[in-house]
């Protein structure tokens, strides 16, 4: 198939499952079709379930934010196929560098859902231990983490020297269409290509960077950037979980085989607001939103699964129950986060070894804190006054 770019150019796009939920057999896609065909019904059911739960996570978090329990939330709605499809192609030892909207990826990686909201609660700058899930914490400065991913992959390469056996680790980094404009993302491609690092650049082109359409970032389809830096590059239908899975698996395989980096542009759509502070009515039409609602990635897989006998009302009910459980867990867990570390934890982990200035300031603060009546406890709901971010 082809997609467009805000212009009328027809851009070749890998699609294995069309918006009506039927498998597509275009010429030249056999390799990818084989990869998708290797997914069992059980696999597809898992993907479906994880996509639905990702959306549920979104809804729960959004409502927690409305209740003042989160400072902010960035929903992934519409991008579930891109996230879950690519995450399914990963192995445990692979290392993930997300930006800040990869709820579907983190879900598949097995991260605790409450931990995934610590950041948005304003109770943590990260939220989980990256070494336990081979998944870095969020990076808020757009694009910076793409270089970390490449560096990590260069480390994997070095581990493969005689000392150590290549453990088949690959690295993946997620970023958005806006991020492609940042110097760092471009430098990351330079470093990856020159070093033939085992890394996959996974771009979710959701067509918006807050209020700016992709035409403010580029005149050309973004996957061509990857090509120019020297990587096999591909645009896939980001709302087609099969295509995303197949393309990512292929790219990861290249990385594992020492064939260097790849670039995948998953063409998708951010169905919701940029964050809970955003107001999309100021910059886009409901027509466009409606059009993309018709290409909902979850409906698409659902239709296929029903047709192929993998989805029935029982399974829907089972997923619904799991969603309810997730919701309950989030509501309790997030509220309990207030029992987190004491204020003086601000001084923890600034350095790994003692630093005189921090030590002195901590000592002062603890004395001050002990000597005076405790300052009024910070209440997040109060301070979340206006101002998108």
């Amino acid at each position: 198939m082809t997609t467009t770019n805000g212009s009328n150019e027809a851009i070749p796009t890998l699609q294995l499952l069309d918006p009506r939920g039927s498998r597509v057999t275009t010429r030249g896609t056999k390799g990818y079709r084989d990869r998708a065909a290797a997914l069992t019904t059980e696999d597809l059911r898992g993907m479906y379930r994880d996509m639905v739960l990702t959306r549920r996570f979104d809804d729960e978090a959004t409502s927690l934010q409305r209740q003042g329990e989160l400072a902010l939330f960035a929903p992934a709605r519409g991008q579930e196929a891109a996230q879950v499809g690519s995450a399914y192609a990963l192995r445990t030892q692979d290392y993930v560098f997300p930006s800040y909207r990869e709820h579907g990826v983190l879900h598949v990686r097995g991260l605790d859902p409450v931990d995934r909201l610590r950041f948005f609660r304003g109770s943590d700058h990260g939220g989980w231990n990256p070494t336990q899930h081979n998944t870095a914490v969020y990076t808020i400065v757009i694009g910076a983490h793409a270089l970390h991913a490449v560096g990590y992959a260069m480390g994997v390469q070095r581990d493969a020297t005689p000392h150590d056996k290549h453990d088949g680790t690959a690295v993946i980094t997620y970023f958005g269409d806006g991020a492609t404009s940042q110097g760092d993302v471009n430098e990351a491609m330079v470093y990856a290509a020159v070093n033939e690092a085992p890394v996959v650049f996974f771009l979710q082109n959701n067509q918006w960077a807050i209020s700016e359409p992709t035409t403010r970032q580029t005149r050309t389809p973004l996957y061509r950037r990857g090509e120019a830096f020297g990587m096999p590059s591909l645009r896939v239908d980001g709302n087609d979980v099969l295509a995303v899975y197949a393309a990512t698996q292929e790219a990861l395989e290249r990385a594992r085989n020492g064939e260097g980096p790849s670039f995948i542009e998953a063409f998708t759509y951010r169905m919701g607001a940029h964050t809970t502070s955003d107001d999309p009515t100021r910059y886009r039409t409901s027509d466009q939103e409606e059009e993309w609602r018709r290409r909902d990635p979850i409906d698409r897989l659902g239709t296929l699964l029903r047709a192929e006998g993998g989805l029935d009302d029982d399974f829907e009910a089972e997923i619904k129950a799991a969603g309810d459980e997730l919701g309950a867990k989030l509501r309790t867990g997030v509220r309990a986060l207030d029992g987190g570390p004491a204020v003086s934890s601000t001084f923890d982990d600034v350095y790994a070894t003692p630093h005189g200035v921090v030590a002195a300031e901590r000592a002062w603060y603890e004395a001050y804190d002990a000597g005076d009546p405790p300052a009024p406890q910070y209440a997040i709901a109060e301070s979340a006054q206006g101002g998108a971010r």
Binding site: V343, F347, H355, V358, A375, S383
Partner: protein, 347 residues
């Protein structure tokens, strides 16, 4: 170089009359009006940044300006801060006066190279042949419950670099005047907007004259005799509240709103400290290598015999800006300033 007069002429008579009179505005709106006034006055003034067009910026400070001035003067840029500042430099070379918006304090760092090695130095590098009338607006400071990189105060990192002017308003009136003076300045100005004060209201005289004062001169915002509180931006309000609290205790605090961090109006501070003998500096930025250090060093050098106590500093800690849940303990509070004043009196 085009003179201000030449540039003013190019604005044709068709534009609507600027707002006038005194109105009560939020600081955000005051900056918006200041930008509007500057853009009406001089059609070389243009705005650049992420999401400043149809969205009006994440804080709505540029609300309505693209509608009024068009896409060529209010430019939604690609998501790349080095690009914003780097292209603004080129535009300035062509005679434009770009006003760049950096979306949040923590996102100015990708532009740090362009600001430090280029913007600050081109006037000097060309021995004055090329001016750099570029303003960089940065919403900064904490207190709004933001996530990481949304509460920082990096002003010291700019003040150390010659060639830049660094300012921060504390009231809607100053915000309105200072943005216009920053735009009129032939020097690059880093204009720090205290985001916790965006929603605070105050009277704004929309006809206030646009000179150069606010870029250089501090203002005594409250007279006093016993201790001098020096602050700027969001901390000026904290200083004023502390002065209220001190008044209740029978102590009279003089409050100086610096407005400019580069240059520092040392004379104004010194005059006050010679009178009061005590000085406490307040800012949200970390104390270590912060503006308070420079102020303390200067004031001590010039008021050595007048000082009854060392100049004390109240500010952020040498830690990353904390999580929202803890930011109110990190920020200099009235209570912490009172503690410092007590220590100054205990000397």
């Amino acid at each position: 170089m085009t003179t201000m007069a030449e540039r003013t002429q190019t604005t044709s008579g068709g534009a609507p009359e600027p707002a006038s009179g005194t109105q009560t505005l939020t600081m955000g709106k005051a900056i918006n009006e200041g930008l509007r006034a500057a853009m009406r006055r001089d059609d070389k003034v243009m705005l650049m940044g992420e999401d400043i067009g149809p969205l009006g910026g994440v804080f709505r400070v540029t609300d309505g300006l693209q509608a009024e001035f068009g896409e060529r003067r209010v430019v939604d840029t690609p998501l790349a801060e080095s690009g914003i500042v780097g292209t603004a430099i080129g535009l300035a070379m062509r005679g434009y006066r770009p006003v760049c918006e950096i979306q949040f304090d923590g996102f100015v760092f990708p532009a740090f190279n362009q600001i430090t090695t280029q913007l600050a130095k081109i006037h000097n590098r060309t021995r004055g042949a090329v001016q750099m009338p570029v303003v960089i607006r940065i919403p900064y400071g904490g207190g709004i419950g933001g996530v990481e990189h949304h509460g920082e105060s990096p002003e010291a990192l700019f003040a150390h670099t010659a060639g830049l002017r660094v300012v921060s308003p504390s009231t809607p009136q100053d915000a309105y005047t200072m943005i216009q003076e920053a735009i009129a300045s032939p020097d690059p100005v880093i204009y720090f907007e205290p985001k916790s004060r965006y929603w605070g209201k105050g009277p704004v005289d929309l006809g206030a004259p646009v000179g150069t004062d606010t870029l250089n001169a501090a203002q005594v915002v409250r007279q006093g005799t016993d201790v001098t509180l020096v602050a700027y931006g969001p901390s000026t309000v904290t200083a004023l509240k502390t002065a209220d609290a001190l008044a209740e205790e029978g102590r009279s605090a003089e409050v100086i709103d610096l407005r400019a961090i580069s240059p520092i109006d040392t004379a104004a501070v010194v005059a006050s400290v010679r009178k009061t003998g005590r000085c406490v500096v307040i800012h949200e930025a970390p104390v270590f290598f912060g503006a308070g250090a420079e102020i303390a060093a200067r004031v001590t050098e010039e008021c050595f015999y007048a000082l009854e106590a060392p100049v004390l500093r109240v500010g952020g800690f040498h830690t990353p800006y904390p999580v929202a849940k803890h930011e109110h303990e990190y920020l200099p509070s009235v209570d912490r300033v009172l503690d410092a004043v007590d220590r100054a009196f205990a000397h």
